[in-house]
Symmetry: C2
């Protein structure tokens, strides 16, 4: 049996107090669909600490991104009206490598509805977030999956309904199903 | 004389009321260093409007990113403690393509100092923003340039001192100077 295609699981849930448990559940969902989920917290930093530890972590996550077959990104708003920039950087990196990318959010509203007027133009395309994020997912053949994860930022960040839709889409794409 | 290397000018200043003028000044700085600056507002969307216009804009910006030689990103905080996600996506995309990337911010403080406690772990590496952003710039051989652009979000977003440092670095790298 060939090795399962690898999906990198990008998202700010790595910053939750129960980040390890959330990751375990995401990897389980992937396994049920025949995919190997790689969670950033599993990155091997070789015990490095301090500033050297930061760069070792970056290198380890980049090595995972360079070896995966697709990226599924949790684009739920994080510390503001938009997604987590680390997650977004990884989404862009994967797109630049030509990989299929998938995205979901637990916020149903569109980006413009979340912005407090600040004297700057608000991108008003009715999209879940900035055009580049949704455009990248659309270019890969899908759309950003929006589900209602409620109003609590910490609760909705670990909401997995949208993630499950993305995993099913990724399995169809990577395993040639459907 | 060979054509000047092309630098894509990523940043949220495209949302300023005087976005066109800011872009004109950035392109001028590039020209002084022998580089061709491409500003996202110059993207050719062929007159498309509405939803089709959004995708045409995405495609046009992607075409620019696919043809440039480097990206300089304005990572000044935007609508929260982090950089603009559109800019960050472009930085990631360029890194995924293997291009040299440069970044600057008009905020001197580090990311952790800007985050309001929210029950989530704060990445505390003393970096200007999320590790992936600074790691990408560092991997290209540089560092995120921090200059003090003051406290007004709109004023500091058009601050060009950090940008000028990045352009000089990009010229050294792309033209083999220095």
């Amino acid at each position: 049996m060939p090795a399962a295609p690898v999906v990198y699981l990008a998202g700010p849930e790595v910053f939750l107090p129960d980040a390890v448990e959330v990751g375990r559940r995401k990897v389980e969902v992937c396994a049920r669909h025949g995919l190997a989920g790689w969670y950033p917290l599993d990155a091997d930093v070789g015990g490095a600490e301090g500033p050297a530890g930061a760069w070792a972590l970056f290198d380890a996550m980049l090595a995972m991104l360079d070896r995966c077959d697709a990226v599924i990104a949790n684009l739920t708003p994080f510390r503001g009206p938009s997604a987590d920039v680390g997650t977004v950087w990884e989404l862009g990196y994967a797109a630049g490598r030509g990989l299929p990318v998938f995205g979901y959010t637990a916020a149903m509203d569109h980006y413009g509805a979340r912005v407090t007027p600040d004297g700057l133009m608000v991108e008003d395309f009715g999209l879940a977030d900035n055009l580049m994020l949704e455009g990248a997912v659309r270019r890969a053949g899908g759309a950003v999956v929006r589900v209602d994860g409620g109003g609590d930022p910490l609760v909705r960040m670990r909401h997995l309904a949208g993630f499950e839709v993305c995993v099913a889409e990724a399995a169809t794409r990577l395993l040639g199903l459907g």
